[in-house]
């Protein structure tokens, strides 16, 4: 990309399809990017690592993913950079127990999906002083969690909506949210550093627009829910319910973020899911937002 034409060149942002991306859908729907003179297109992906993979593959310039996902991908893609936080939550993920489980010590099997949910499950056990080795993690994708729970194939899981309420439909009970055991997750906006180097001004403008959108989402969830329904058909009431539990706000990545990211990285290394922790000091750009966002 060329910085001279950067202002008008099309920028693709890879997103997933769930309520967490409400600010992006809203910004697109309400024409906020256009108003800022930006040519932005949203690329829907299957979600999970595919979002950031779109950046790695070069088909999108920016992506938005949870910290856990980005950290695992950074290990193999040293050019990946995280620019800013745009949401965080200690409420969005909740622990669900299956019917019949009365005590945390009865949990012998947990459903996990690669990335964030594996981390959340491990942290949950850690907080309850349960030996990680004594619990079997059953790998699955989130949509299958409720079925597993209803079948009795797993005893618990940590997940986001709608799989929490679907779990309840299958006889489960909500025990606590991740905040209750001192965990939170953040979602970052990330980019490839080669593109970023030449387009930091555009990137700054875009993140700024997302910041505006985040504010709108926080203040007027209904607008966000409507935009989301229009974009990806998620029913507005579902989005409304979900985004109430998420704090949308764009902010700089801080030293605290870096150190918690490091412990996340260590966890994945421990679990032998990645070979070596990424160079997070290098790849998480502290204070990038305040330096690059137009005033």
């Amino acid at each position: 990309a060329d910085s001279a034409t950067g202002a008008t060149a099309k920028v693709r942002i890879a997103v997933g399809v769930d309520a967490a991306y409400a600010p992006f859908f809203l910004a697109k729907q309400e024409g906020l990017f256009d108003k800022a003179g930006l040519d932005v297109e949203l690329t829907q992906t299957e979600g999970g690592p595919a979002i950031t993979n779109a950046v790695v593959a070069g088909v999108a310039q920016l992506a938005a993913n949870s910290d856990a996902t980005i950290i695992t991908l950074m290990a193999k893609s040293p050019d990946l950079r995280a620019l800013a936080v745009f949401q965080e939550s200690s409420q969005y993920l909740k622990v669900v127990w299956r019917k019949g489980i009365t005590d945390v010590s009865q949990i012998k099997k947990m459903a996990t999906a690669p990335g964030l949910m594996t981390l959340a499950a491990a942290r949950y056990l850690q907080s309850k002083n349960i030996d990680r080795a004594s619990v079997k993690f059953v790998n699955a994708s989130a949509p299958d969690f409720p079925a597993l729970l209803g079948n009795g194939d797993v005893d618990a899981y940590v997940v986001f909506e709608p799989w929490i309420s679907k779990g309840v439909e299958q006889g489960g009970t909500i025990k606590e949210s991740i905040g209750d055991y001192g965990m939170k997750y953040v979602q970052w906006i990330d980019a490839d550093q080669k593109w970023l180097a030449a387009n930091s001004a555009v990137a700054g403008k875009i993140v700024k627009v997302i910041a505006e959108a985040c504010d709108i989402v926080a203040k007027d969830p209904q607008r966000a829910a409507d935009a989301t329904q229009k974009a990806v058909k998620i029913p507005a009431e579902q989005t409304l319910q979900n985004i109430g539990q998420i704090d949308f706000a764009v902010r700089d990545i801080t030293g605290t973020d870096v150190s918690s990211a490091k412990s996340t990285g260590d966890f994945f290394v421990q679990e032998k899911l990645i070979s070596a922790a990424p160079d997070l000091d290098q790849q998480l750009l502290k204070n990038w937002y305040s330096q690059n966002a137009p005033k």
Partner: protein, 266 residues
Amino acid sequence: MTAVAERPVSAVPARRWRFRGVAWTVVTLAAGLAVWTAVAWWYGSALVASPAETLRAGIDLAKDGSLGESVLASTRRILLGWALGVVVGGPIGILMGRVPAIRRLLDPYIEFFRFIPPIAFVTLAIVWFGIGEMSKIVLIFYTSVFIVTINTIAGVLAIEESKLRAAASLGANRWQLLHAVVLPAAIPYIVTGARLAMGNSFLTIVSAEIVAADTGIGAMIWQSRNYGRIDWIFVGIIALGLLGFVCDRLIRIGAGRLLRRYGVKV
């Protein structure tokens, strides 16, 4: 002496079967719906959407136009990828069946790549072919071409030697042998290959539409899965099934009419 059994070995399809056929179809359909309803009732709407729920969801999606759009988009992708698979796979199969050098060259690749799930190539496909239609069509092509090729090779190998011999001694050169004898003789196999490939094209639509597909039945199924709309998943499933059914019927009717003299029986 001669046992008076139901039908001779070569039963001339009697007229009355036509009407019985319709009745059968109705009975079959009704039975299917009954089983579906029972299953849905047993497992509840969190796991299985009932026919009624599916119908309602289908009507909703049809009303806002997104169902039609999805069907259209997916059909386009499937048909293009599939057609490409047939158009490429048929000739390659014929060449591989007849020309040992080409067979030796391509066989290891085909026998390697045809076992690799398209999902493994999703990333590469978007890198190479972009996030537009192209990458989706290529992925669908990928799962159909091998089936057509292998069935065509089988067809070529099954050609009676005497036909090839006759053609050669009537003056057909290698190229003429291919298009005037080998191709027509292999057509029933190519048609079967194409029908099977159509199936695979459908199976791949979800993988293909996972990336950057805001429309399409595959994308719809995947997204609905992600936000737990079982009823929409079922609308997608039914749409794929019916669409496939219709496509297959069209191939069968078309091939049965146009290619009948090549011995196509469907």
